[in-house]
């Protein structure tokens, strides 16, 4: 009996021990799992903290209904909050200065009405663009948390302002210059007309008393008047091309049509020089001021013909190729070519390189101005096999 009792006891206690051991094992496992979960959570927390802290110029805050920050990290926290102090667990009142709180608190509160908002605020020396967003509970329309993302836009703002000021200054000085050119050329015209007219009268009325030398002088006066008159006309033409007006006139233009018009304008020159102008059939539709585009192409074609002093029959080829963001238009001639050291200078005002060819000295300067108004570039190349290529670009924009 005793034996039986004993065996029972042993087996029961063994069972109990086994059971206890199993239970302990289970607890152990749960504990381990909890520890792992904790570690995983800490890791995740670490990751998003790392992420937030290293977002450039950005601070991210999440806060609960009591406006207590649950997550707060980023540039603003690391630079504004004293080291060692945490924003997490604290309300805006507890971390921000009073004036900042007064501005921000209404936004903090509005988030819990489900309303997102964005504001730009200047705190101390920095400017922040702040976006407040409500975070809804999964599958519900109650706001669980509010988020505030602070983006430091101080540098961006400063750059934009500086750029705006610079553009303004530049536009004003351009306008002044155009105004000056316009007024000056008008003011120059009258005295010049008098000089020329009285030189004429001197010649016609005093011819009998003039020596051959005297007549020569009068002729020099006349020539001087003529060239100065040309300069004034050129200045007026140049100053008449106004960027604002041109941009207001910009429309969709078929380049093919514009070239045909430019060629028609030059019919006499083309006929006299027996020139051939060939145009590739595939030309784009551009956004441009039709008057100026016609002037630009007309100038380039006329130059290609006029400056061909080789004695050969002038050939001009116009083609356009689409680059990624712009159209490149090439006007190629079979003229004498332009030496590399002069290729930039030809676009300057009153730069004349071939005295045998009559010209205003303004044509290419005007071309450069026109291309600039259309936000393109112009340059020239002279291939070793001869001839010159004038290339200009026009932004493709919405062109096909």
């Amino acid at each position: 009996m005793i034996w039986f009792t004993l065996t029972c006891l042993v087996s029961v206690s063994a069972g109990l021990a086994y059971w206890l051991w199993r239970a302990d094992q289970r607890v152990q496992r749960l504990l381990e799992q909890a520890q792992l979960d904790m570690l995983e959570r800490r890791r995740a927390e670490n990751r998003y903290h790392f992420l937030i802290r290293n977002l450039p110029n950005t601070t991210v805050c999440m806060f609960d209904r009591n406006l207590r920050h649950i997550i707060a990290d980023g540039e603003l926290v690391t630079t504004t909050i004293p080291p060692g102090r945490e924003m997490e667990g604290l309300t805006p009142e507890q971390v921000f200065p009073k004036d900042v709180v007064d501005i921000l608190l209404p936004f903090y509160k509005a988030v819990f009405q489900g309303k997102p908002s964005r504001t730009e605020q200047h705190f101390r020396t920095r400017t922040y663009r702040i976006t407040f967003l409500p975070m809804f509970e999964a599958g519900a329309d109650t706001v669980e948390l509010g988020t505030a993302v602070f983006l430091d836009v101080t540098e961006e703002r400063a750059t934009v302002t500086a750029l705006r000021d610079q553009t303004h200054d530049l536009e004003r000085s351009n306008r002044d210059l155009e105004q000056f050119a316009h007024v000056a050329s008008h003011e120059l015209k009258s005295p010049l007309r008098r000089i020329g007219s009285f030189a004429d009268l001197l010649q016609s009325e005093f011819d009998a008393v003039l020596t051959p030398e005297g007549r020569q002088y009068i002729q020099h006066i006349g020539e001087g008047v003529q060239s100065l008159r040309q300069v004034i006309e050129s200045l007026l033409t140049y100053s008449r091309v106004q960027p604002e007006q041109a941009r207001a006139r910009m429309v969709r233009v078929e380049m093919q049509t514009v070239i045909r018009e430019a060629v028609r304008d030059l019919a006499l020159l083309i006929h006299e020089r027996r020139a051939r102008v060939s145009i590739t059939p595939s030309l784009p539709t551009l956004t441009a001021d039709p008057i100026l585009l016609r002037q630009l192409l007309g100038n380039l074609i006329a130059n290609a013909i006029k400056f061909n002093t080789t004695g050969k029959r002038p050939l001009v080829r116009i083609e356009a190729t689409r680059q990624l963001l712009y159209w490149e238009v090439r006007v190629t001639d079979n003229g004498p070519g332009i030496p590399a050291n002069l290729q930039d200078k030809v676009f300057g005002m009153f730069q004349r390189f071939d005295s045998r060819v009559e010209g205003s000295g303004i044509g290419l300067a005007l071309c450069k101005k026109i291309v600039g108004i259309h936000r393109g570039k112009i340059w020239c190349e002279s291939p070793s096999e001869g001839g010159t290529v004038f290339v200009f670009t026009v932004p493709a924009g919405q062109s096909r």
Partner: protein
């Protein structure tokens, strides 16, 4: 326009050199012309209204008007003549260096009958005056 007396022209021009050129050119045309010169808009209005120094002035048949002048410029003269019913019928020819669109539009919208820019050489100016003679003095009918 065959009448006994020479054509009375009022030239409103401030620059003596331009006055001399105009005198020269008008002296070279066939039609007899009586040229009166005033130096600015103010004097032009005195001439037209026959007041002050010009109390004895006679009504001109044709007015040549410069635009840029001291004291009272041609634009103001056009405005005043345009508003005056007794003066409006006198043909006014603007003769100026300005080729600005605003000036051309302004002149024609007031009482200007013609707008001419001053040519650069005397020969061209003489040609212009001959054209004026042919049209305004020999072809067109104007109130006399």
């Amino acid at each position: 326009m065959p009448t006994g007396r020479p054509v009375r022209i009022l030239l409103v021009e401030d620059h003596p050199a331009d006055v001399a050129l105009a005198r020269k050119a008008f002296a070279r045309i066939a039609t007899p012309v009586q040229l009166h010169v005033v130096l600015d808009g103010l004097e032009a209005m005195q001439f037209l209204h026959r007041t002050g120094r010009h109390a004895n002035a006679e009504r001109p048949d044709l007015v040549f008007l410069d635009l840029n002048m001291p004291r009272m410029d041609g634009r103001e003269v056009l405005r005043e003549v345009d508003a005056d019913l007794t003066l409006r019928s006198i043909p006014v020819i603007v003769l100026t260096t300005s080729a600005a669109d605003v000036d051309v539009n302004m002149a024609y919208s007031l009482c200007a009958n013609s707008y001419l820019t001053k040519p650069v050489t005397f020969d061209e100016f003489l040609k212009l005056v001959q054209l004026i003679e042919l049209y305004w003095l020999q072809t067109a009918l104007i109130p006399r």
